[in-house]
Subunit: 474 residues, 2 copies
Amino acid sequence: MARIDDLRKIATRLRIHSLRMTTVAGSGHPTTCLSAADIAACLFFGEMRWNTKDPFDPANDEFVLSKGHAAPLLWAAYAEAGIIPLEHLLDLRKISSDLEGHPTPRMKWVKAATGSLGQGLSVGVGMALAQRLDKSPARTFVLLGDGECAEGQVWEAANAAAYWKLRNLVAVVDVNRLGQSDPTMHQHDLAALARKFRAFGWDAVVIDGHKVDRILAALKEAGKKGKPTAVLARTLKGKGVSFIEDKNGWHGKPLKADELARAFEEIGCLPDVDSRKFVHKPKPFHKKKAASSFDFPRTNYKEKTATRLAYGNALLSLGRVNPSVVAVDGDVKNSTYADKFFEAFPGRSFQSFIAEQNMVGVGMGLAAKGYIPFIATFAAFLTRAHDQLRMAAYSLSNIKVCGSHVGVSIGEDGPSQMGLEDLAMFRPIPGCVVLYPGDAVSSEACVAAAAAHRGMVYLRTSRPATPILYPAGE
Amino acid sequence: MARIDDLRKIATRLRIHSLRMTTVAGSGHPTTCLSAADIAACLFFGEMRWNTKDPFDPANDEFVLSKGHAAPLLWAAYAEAGIIPLEHLLDLRKISSDLEGHPTPRMKWVKAATGSLGQGLSVGVGMALAQRLDKSPARTFVLLGDGECAEGQVWEAANAAAYWKLRNLVAVVDVNRLGQSDPTMHQHDLAALARKFRAFGWDAVVIDGHKVDRILAALKEAGKKGKPTAVLARTLKGKGVSFIEDKNGWHGKPLKADELARAFEEIGCLPDVDSRKFVHKPKPFHKKKAASSFDFPRTNYKEKTATRLAYGNALLSLGRVNPSVVAVDGDVKNSTYADKFFEAFPGRSFQSFIAEQNMVGVGMGLAAKGYIPFIATFAAFLTRAHDQLRMAAYSLSNIKVCGSHVGVSIGEDGPSQMGLEDLAMFRPIPGCVVLYPGDAVSSEACVAAAAAHRGMVYLRTSRPATPILYPAGE
């Protein structure tokens, strides 16, 4: 079983890189890299099919590191795959380096910034949806920590993945038992986690996350039951170095120089293996290209019209000329008027139910795969996804967000429904374009401009019908 | 079984009130009131023990309407209990009336504003925790809709309730199958919801939510297995009025005058029953009062000190002089320095793990019961709870929120960990005091001032040690 031995060697190399990188940087999270090293070796050099020459090859399996503080492990894996020169690894966390402390798309293989926990699975759901839309055989893998499974967004994403029957989505949970300040809620009770994923409609399997053969077998079986699959891997934080292994108090602490020397005495030298030979290339797959445009026929508004209605009309018109445009809704499409798009293009419309965090994450995943998602709900409820929206900005995501029912014009429904904080929320988000059209004509123009702009856009709309201010087509 | 008949009559009265109120108001959500009317009758006039003379009687069972759009039903129940004059019900949604379209504490029995869905269970968790701290035999009931169970926060709260073994917490889910724009994810597959609650450590029971005897029996059994209990009630949206019952497209639509007349033909007149006689008073219970103060000995800082460390020290000192002060953490207490309080007062410290939405909701529940919760995490991660924080403001909640690691001083960890958006988030929150102490001395003063202030306070702290600017005690 040469392959098993080789993967073990690769895992050891990933451990050594992660330890050295964080010690040189003087900060970072080596123990969380060590717990997931065997998993990463099996994913990148065992199960995944990917073209190391092109991060945007549509044939690629996708990977999201939801537990973003394990960034050194990710950089180490890309280095082993020949994407990053090995010597660059020691630039971790330098301001001049793309190898940040938590992943961002400064490094081009990263399609979603992570580091605020519990967000990666939603992005993975969006990517897996995109792969299905593309009719691609590729899959999406998300690596989570057990601590972040306390975030509700993980269960919003789990819900969505099961609802959409995403058998091409695999979540691997690195259950290393220890959070930052305390043991996690379930510690090594992996059965408890399995019950949760199964109750949320997933296939779930519990394995030893340090046994390469078990990891490979679980990944190979994933999806065969027609469901998204959770591989729950029992691991030890700091695995491989006796004095930090499974010990509380080592979260986010690099080894000191003398500790590193002791660690290397235990682990040994870098094993001699050329990891690049173990990368599996995907079968060629080409996404069908269709004619697409951002110009659509404008409406000749005469009567008072709500800007939210004009948004809905414009989105429908845009959808007719641009097959990359998709819509995501939080069970208010009859209020935002996204329902017009939903009715015309059911295959490109995604009902995310009342789960705004996941809704934004799914949009980020779709955008990462080249789609142009228009995400809409009441502006007030976008506050629910503030953290996801700021991470979308750090992800340089091409999402378009519409918040309806802004201001006090909805009166009797009360402040909980009013979009009052949305401008204060979106204006400081780096790179986000904020549009507030004054009438229906400009709403339509804003939808066209938002779609054509490469980057994050926020568009706010009002509930009541308001007068037309601009001549048609201006 | 006179009692069953009486409760049926009360439910009919609640239906009639809800229909009339929303028709007169010209807006509102009658169908969601009708689905939950039997449940409300059984809760307020069957199971709950409460003193209608005093919303702050510590002997009271607590109630949270998580599905806030059913506000008319809540007002109707309070009217039937003799708290609101019946004739005031028709002032629903008037700007002069306390009976808002979604509940707020303008009406004094409401202790948490709702209307942004999925938040009530967290508040209930906090209230149930407070009842336990008080050594009170009282319980907390939360009424949720099935649609809002898509919100991740519900599962964060479910996690927390099971972790803290809150047998005094009962969630009743009004599973009426229909959301706003579409059927819900599970529709009437109540077994799916039951699996989820059980997997999250709850006892769960499925009942017919229109059968008064079944509802009463389920509520009576709740908690007997030593766990929080979910009563999953199969209901029909619009129950009792044939032309709106179980029909999509009626969310948030009041009946027109002629429709109301037809509805009343079906339902009949207001049944003759004095609901007030069915309110169960609680056994008297008095909370022990302990001496408490906001003045604590100040530290004589000389050396450079991080404001986050001064926060931790001050919180510890405050805890010694004020037994109402409690701490809630999102698994970063060793970074915010809330760990000093946690070590000294484990009984008043609540590890909320990585679930910021629930963390804030739990704080709101504790505050609603008279505790002074200090809630802390990285400022960056408070964006995760933006929606909860704005609702805390509308709840007039007495929570104190600390966000650490503000600004770019954490450098190499990257933007996902930096508190950059927190001021823009907190400043527009109505009534929220924002404090940004410049050194350790003022941090301590800010903690004292925050505790003494009645209302929501945000306090931001920095990671690095910074010079002392003020003389001790200033």
